[in-house]
Amino acid sequence: MSEFTRFINQSRLFSRDEEHRLKILKAISTYDDKVDQMKISQFRDWQQARGYASKIKQYVLDHLPTLLEEFEEKISARGAEVLWARDKKEAQKYFLDIAKRHQAKRVVKSKSMTTEEIEFNELCEDNDIDVIESDLGELIVQLAGEKPYHIVTPAMHKSKAEIGHLFQESLGAPETDDAEELTMIAREHLRKTYVTSDIGVTGANFIVAHEGALVMTENEGNGRLTMSCPPVHIAIVGIEKVLPRLSDLSLFLPLLATSGTGQQVTGYNSIIKGPRQEGELDGPEKMYIILLDNGRSELYTKHEFRDILCCIRCGACLNACPVYRTIGGHTYHTPYQGPVGSVITPQFRGMNHWSHLSFASSLCAACSSVCPVHIDIHQLLLENRWEAHQEGKTGFSWNTGLKIWSWVMSSRGRLNTMSTLGHIVYRWFLPFLSRSKRKRIPKIPKRSFEKLWNDYEQQI
């Protein structure tokens, strides 16, 4: 089945699944309330904060190669090893080499989208390495044999009862549908893992260039444990995650927390400057940083798309998107869902199989209006459509349809003729042609806007 067919089938399925839609609606409306409130209670002017954030990220784009080199130099001086991975394959190879060098049998992992990108869990399974997700949401989807539903809330689609059942089956836990008890089951289950794993794998939210540090944001503490207990720490980070100065965090930490979860700041914001240093009591003996390109530098060279590399993966555009809310995260079938996923997936994986994602949007711009770093996401969806068209990836009916549309729209007379014609078809034939159970066809007024306007003008 092609990705396009799969997408259409899944969309049909999920948009009609009322129970599913209710779960998502509930989760997102809780999020909406908290975020709206936090924007007002924390920031003097949210728009001003966005403006600063966007400026900083634009500066980063202008100086990206230099800032990356600065980061590499600073963190290497403290003994971390920086590895540059062109693509998924190379990142996988780096990991397997490290695992072999340290004879790793078990890996504990905190939530990271880059590891989803390189299909890290599948890689470990194929190579007989035990891999355990430590973030609660990620653990739930791992046990269920699924992929994350949302880049910030991976198990958004699972109800308490479903999770209770899952824990009962896969962990042998007693039956419960209480969120607190379920969390404690996961806590107990994972405690041993941290202290018996050979490698801890994490992502990072920011790369700080001047100080040579990684920054990781989380609430549960699983990330902290993952980079404190095992003797080896590997961080897999996208090359675009750069901030110039440590002081930029005083804006970006509250900004990310507000947009991501409606918190003032997240529970733990860790700054990592290397492996255990001389005189320190503990910490990993070795630290590796895999800087993942995987299509990012290619995107960087297309200057109209460069802005999408400002994205800090807060997930706000997913929550705001009417399409995401309706079809759900799994329908996208990519690590990055929602509007941002619909921009980068066709770019990373090719228009051939993925351009449909950029067309699955009403271009309502809700995504752009909530983006904390001011990316015009809907504009980039249009750019994607244009690129797909240029590459000849849009079908005959789309191309011809648009030609006819532009021919009609470029003359008032043709538009009037077509709207009269359309009126008749709509009124007299459409109700018989599409007897849809899910949609009711709205009534259209007898007089068009143009006629009303003419009348109005005559009156004055």
Binding site: T183, G221, Y300
Partner: protein, 219 residues
């Protein structure tokens, strides 16, 4: 060509994009509406924010009261499995309380496996600074006795002085930049460990400490 130069070369390809200009400078005071108005508000605001996050604050006058408070707290939990990171501040508390000095063990001189470490019930550390606006505690490996002591035990007790209170995150980061030794890890702690991964319902104590307690010594 190595992947490194391959990637960097691609990033260095000439582009006709407009250069955005200088980095903006700001002060937290201008950005955040909940910035404390005056120095006198620092402690009250910190207290309010920490409590909102389900953390506990005990402001006490002088070392003697602080030592007594610490002893009371530890007796309630399990004094045998408490571990502390040696610092002048905690040494001072030990001097002021015979009982604490009898049972409180420092982790600093032994190498402890993570399996053993996981048995400890309380971790006691110092702090770099406390942040009033967000109710946060900033620690780094020197003030926190490494990485594990503040995250593996189910209770984390922070001993700090009133002069360590600062208005906002920018102050904390400035403090951190000034630290001279070569630390590898710092963390800004805002409340006990938490999760909302199950139906967006808040649960405390996901993987890290369930309890975060700050004993603040006033002069």
């Amino acid at each position: 060509m190595s992947s490194r130069s391959d990637i960097l070369n691609r990033l260095r390809q000439p582009s006709n994009r407009k250069i955005a200009g200088q980095l903006p400078e700001w002060q937290d005071k201008d950005l955040f509406s909940d910035y404390p108005d005056s120095k006198d508000d620092l402690l009250n605001l910190f207290d309010t924010q920490l409590k909102k996050l389900s953390g506990s604050l005990y402001p006490v006058m002088g070392f003697e009261h602080a030592a007594k408070k610490l002893n009371d707290l530890l007796q309630e939990i399990d004094p045998k499995e408490c571990r502390a990171h040696e610092s002048p501040l905690i040494n001072e508390l030990k001097l002021h309380n015979q009982e604490i000095s009898k049972y409180l063990t420092y982790i600093d001189r032994e190498s402890i496996s993570s399996e053993d470490f996981a048995q400890f019930t309380v971790g006691i550390t110092g702090a770099d600074c406390l942040i009033s606006r967000t109710g946060s505690v900033l620690i780094h490996t020197t003030t926190a006795g490494g990485r594990r002591l503040s995250v593996l035990p189910p209770t984390h007790i922070v001993i700090a002085e009133e002069k360590q209170l600062f208005p906002s995150i920018e102050d904390a980061l400035q403090e951190l930049v000034q630290v001279k030794n070569n630390w590898s890890y710092a963390t800004l702690i805002t409340g006990p460990s938490r999760t909302s991964d199950i139906e967006k319902q808040l649960v405390l104590g996901a993987h890290g400490p369930k309890h975060l307690i700050v004993i603040l010594i006033k002069n």
